[in-house]
Symmetry: C2
Subunit: 295 residues, 2 copies
């Protein structure tokens, strides 16, 4: 099965790499590993049969497996790239058939307690929790790109139970596809990403839904949308299953972030209500500076 591929000076990192979930992230990691010769063979599974066939047709994987366990069977690396809400069940399915040498990693946007639950289902020390910070407006294997992770951050959140060698190999995998790897505590990870990622998505969904509420009452607003709202609609166009799972899995940190946001919004609204132009200008000017720092 393993078609040897040339290209990488150091040789392949893995003999048989299984990607469970061949969407944007799983498909891109497969493509990146293929391009760099990091895996001798690449097999895949996806609960969405047409996505799986598309990944096969696009050459992201060599083989489409009938289920997650079959994909993991004999693999020395299993990448779980399914929505966060499906991770535990998929881990349970693949665990019995894993070889002793197999490593398992994931790409989930939530870590925290979920990491411990996954560790409980997988062989001791063989699971390395991961979260590449990469995304696109489009999803699915058709959006996959071998260069998606070049220059991107990838956060790994090992625990005391994570094997050292396992961590080193998964770190090398991400570095070899061009990512900058960062180690973070799982709980800290969830607080940070609740703020910079989960909260903005929740806010974007709510804002766009507020527009739809107005439309439902007969007020024609969407045709007048310009820059501001359009940026929000792009964020709110993200995959609903993925985000439902993230919101539920990171409920506590997201709730904390929402408290923060509401407090900042209340401050701005109080300045509006009070007609306090100086306070309002300060709030707006403060936010403006962040763009310069980020870009």
């Amino acid at each position: 099965m393993a078609r040897g591929r040339p290209g990488r000076a150091g040789g392949s990192l893995f003999r048989r790499m299984a990607v469970v979930g061949v969407g944007l992230i799983g498909g891109s990691l497969a493509a990146a590993c293929r391009k760099r010769g990091l895996a001798e063979g690449l097999v895949g599974f996806d609960a969405d049969g047409s996505a799986l066939q598309e990944a096969l047709a696009l050459g992201l994987v060599d083989e489409a497996c009938p289920d997650a366990a079959a994909a993991a069977d004999g693999a020395d690396l299993v990448v779980l790239a399914v929505p966060v809400g499906a991770l535990e069940e998929v881990a349970s399915r693949i665990a019995p058939g894993l070889t002793p040498a197999a490593l398992v990693t994931d790409v989930g946007s939530v870590k925290g307690n979920l990491v411990g639950r996954l560790e409980g289902r997988l062989p001791a020390g063989r699971y390395v929790p991961g979260h590449p910070i990469a995304g696109r407006e489009r999803s699915g294997p058709g959006a996959a790109s071998a260069s998606l992770f070049e220059g991107a951050r990838c956060v790994l959140t090992p625990t005391p139970r994570t094997g050292r060698q396992a961590l080193a190999r998964i770190r090398r995998l991400w570095e070899d596809v061009g990512a900058v790897v960062e180690i973070m505590d799982p709980a800290e990870h969830d607080a940070v990403f609740a703020a910079v990622s989960h909260l903005p998505h929740a806010v974007a969904y709510a804002l766009v839904n507020a527009m739809l509420d107005l439309e439902a009452e007969g007020q024609d607003v969407l045709p007048y949308s310009a820059g501001g709202l359009r940026d929000f609609t792009r964020v709110a166009a993200s995959d609903p299953t993925m985000w439902r799972d993230i919101f539920l899995a990171n409920r506590e940190a997201l709730t904390d972030a929402l408290v923060r946001f509401r407090s900042a919004l209340a401050r701005l609204e109080a300045a509006v209500t009070a007609g306090d132009g100086a306070a309002l200008w300060t709030e707006c000017d403060r936010a403006r500076r962040v763009r310069r720092e980020l870009v």
Copy 2:
């Protein structure tokens, strides 16, 4: 002073056009009128002396005037392109020197009661309230473009006091620079733009400020920002003076829009707290569809 310019089949619309406020919108309208030969002469004023000199150097205007009244003196069209909060004062300054033939229009993002207050300061029937829906991340005369209004909407909000001929000429001005003109009631305008524009900006400012609050407490979040937050920082990078004025001038409609938004956000949060995946998926999927309709 009026340097005749070739180019427009129908001849120029205005002999001397005065642009008060030569930023992105005022500067772009000047550039667009120049390119199409709509004005024989173009003069400008800006409270920011360096912006005014830049507009002159860029050829957006032929002449830099020492104040708004001097710019309006002898003009048959005066465009008020200053922040919303400065409109009333500028209208008062130019009113005494206006010729009987002069038309006045503005480009303010808030209409509503402000229109009546401007009508009270300007010659009867000669003021046509306008709002071109165009923007860019950058502001100032250096960001001005003759093509900014091509294909853009421009909302005019005449009242029973607006002269018919005045309205027809301002409509033609905007159509000649490529805009699609739409007539709307001033109060309806404010409700619509509170929802699709002012609310998203308020939310973006608050969201970015919530991140800064976390940073101020020592939590390092900004380096991890990806797609979602970055889109918000772009919106929150808008000019603070302009947005302070808009928020204050459209206080009531913005407050109504904030009530809507908070209601949609509370619905989403309730689904998160209740662990109601079905409700959460529906909220996310509903918002997602808007993107497809808009793009």
